[in-house]
């Protein structure tokens, strides 16, 4: 058996905020198998972004261990993160922002640019390749940030509310595109969202994080067959899962 792509074991994380201690995560354990799509839902401020940051290697846990592909080697550069704040570089045009990953990986620029160019229409960024980020709408910025993450071709993806600023239609398009890509390339995906339906539609497994200090409150498998279609969300099975998730979330 191949090792798990991501293993988080009993991880705790505290922050010091102006004197008092904020207990962000408390003994969180989770894992994602190679090629698995795992979603994280949970109240705002429960530590989801912190968890992704820890997994990416941007922080070290105060206690507990994190393994990628079975090892505890440095994690930076092994997980593709799409941060919650889009963090586009104001001094780079959209296209140059998109090509950040390929650039860092010293990949052929022309090839990467062709790939990006081909995806621009799907991301609703056609005609904006040469504009600066300040000239984009909120949703366009978010889509640019997602495209930037994807163009780095990571094998493990950590996406922090990638569709938060998108309308339902655009969102659906992006979802389906993400699933297509995922099915083709088999990345491992950690997906933070506030939309329970979205989590069900996309994931193999959904984790509910409890409010601060964050712990795993519930873990639900989503055994809906793939490829997924929108109407599967209207099945009884989906309704059941939705109910369990909403209950765990206190709704």
């Amino acid at each position: 058996m191949s090792p798990l792509a991501v293993e988080v074991e009993q991880v705790s994380k505290r922050f010091r905020v102006d004197g008092h201690i904020v207990h962000a995560l408390d003994g969180v354990s989770l894992h994602a198998a190679e090629g698995e799509f795992v979603s994280l839902v949970g109240p705002s401020g429960c530590g989801k972004s912190t968890l992704l940051n820890l997994i990416c290697g941007l922080m070290e846990p105060d206690s507990g261990t994190i393994r990628l592909q079975g090892d505890t080697l440095p994690r930076l550069g092994r997980v593709g993160l799409m941060p919650q704040q889009d963090l586009l570089m104001p001094w780079r045009r959209v296209m140059d922002n998109l090509l950040l990953g390929p650039e860092i990986q010293r990949r052929d620029r022309q090839e990467a640019e062709q790939e990006a160019q081909a995806l621009l229409p799907l991301f609703g960024l056609e005609g904006f390749a040469q504009s600066y980020p300040s000239q984009l709408s909120g949703g366009m910025r978010q889509r640019a940030a997602l495209l930037r993450t994807m163009l780095a071709h990571p094998t493990v993806l950590a996406l922090d509310e990638p569709f938060g600023a998108l309308d339902a239609l655009t969102r659906r398009g992006m979802r389906d595109w993400l699933l297509q890509v995922w099915e083709r390339f088999g990345q491992t995906v950690l997906f933070v969202t506030h939309d329970v339906d979205e989590a069900i539609y996309l994931s193999d497994r959904v984790l509910v994080i409890s409010s601060r200090p964050g712990t795993v409150a519930l873990e639900v498998n989503v055994p809906l067959p793939r490829p997924r279609i929108q109407t599967q969300l209207d099945t009884l099975e989906a309704a059941h899962i939705r109910h369990r998730l909403l209950t765990a979330l206190g709704l």
Partner: protein, 264 residues
């Protein structure tokens, strides 16, 4: 071409107007108060002295300009290099920063004899003086500018497996550019005076020498001619830096959108 020229003209108008106004006032005062010419010559006197001494002045100007440019190039490289080094290594910051500050407190004339003994009367000591005078603003602005990069952005790049070099060239440096240029603008402004001071260490040609000789012969009008020339040189260099700044940062100085225009 036409409107562009017109725009440049309109841009320069306020400065020209102010300068002309000040000169007129000075001329007036000089005539009314009957100030001795060797003390403070009227602009008209400076002007005619300038015309007269053009031929005489020319080789001095060329010499000073060469010193200025070479010295400034050295200052720029040293300043950027040190600023970057300071930013990269906290140890270096703590070790070297005090020395840099101290280096600025040594008056040139105090080390002039040493400079001459070690480097002679050629170009080198002048380049060193200009370098010493100019590198400091570049260092401080570079070091502070590099530190101002967004830590979130740096973190993002690190998740992509960015090397230190990537972080530097893709985030720190672009973030620091505005401040670096501010430093360069201060430095280039000092560079001409730096060259003049360098010439006082010992030289046979240059604006500084011209100025010294003019002072000694009580030719205050010539002193002012050389001040005027050095001001023009400085302004030219300063303007050049401004142009480069704009060219290198299109995202800051691009054609203004409505939004930005209003939010000023």
């Amino acid at each position: 071409m036409r409107p562009r020229f017109y725009r440049a003209f309109r841009q320069a108008l306020p400065a020209v107007a102010l300068i002309v106004g000040l000169l007129a006032l000075w001329e007036l005062l000089a005539r009314l108060l009957d100030i001795q010419e060797w003390l403070l010559p009227a602009p008209s006197a400076v002007w005619s002295a300038g015309i007269d001494s053009l031929q005489l002045l020319w080789p001095h100007v060329v010499r000073t300009l060469v010193e200025t440019l070479l010295g400034f190039a050295v200052a720029l490289m040293a300043g950027l290099g040190l600023g970057i080094a300071i930013d990269l290594s906290p140890l270096l910051r703590r070790a070297i920063y005090p020395l840099l500050v101290a280096s600025q407190t040594v008056p040139t004339i105090a080390i002039a004899p040493l400079l001459v003994i070690w480097f002679g009367y050629g170009l080198l000591p002048k380049i060193i003086v200009v370098g010493l005078v100019c590198f400091f603003p570049v260092v401080v602005n570079t070091a502070d500018g590099l530190r101002s990069a967004s830590s979130d952005l740096l973190a993002l790049l690190r998740t992509m497996g960015a090397t230190r070099g990537d972080l530097f060239f893709k985030v720190r440096l672009p973030s620091a550019l505005p401040m670096i240029f501010t430093g360069i603008k201060v430095a280039i402004t000092y560079s001409v005076v730096g060259a003049i001071m360098g010439e006082w260490v010992g030289a046979s040609r240059g604006l500084g020498i011209f100025m010294l000789r003019a002072t000694n012969s009580f030719r205050t009008d010539w002193v002012f001619v050389s001040i005027f020339v050095s001001a023009v040189l400085s302004l030219g260099l300063f303007g050049l830096v401004n142009v480069v700044e704009r060219l290198l940062q299109p995202w800051r100085f691009g054609r203004q959108e409505h939004w930005e225009e209003l939010s000023k």
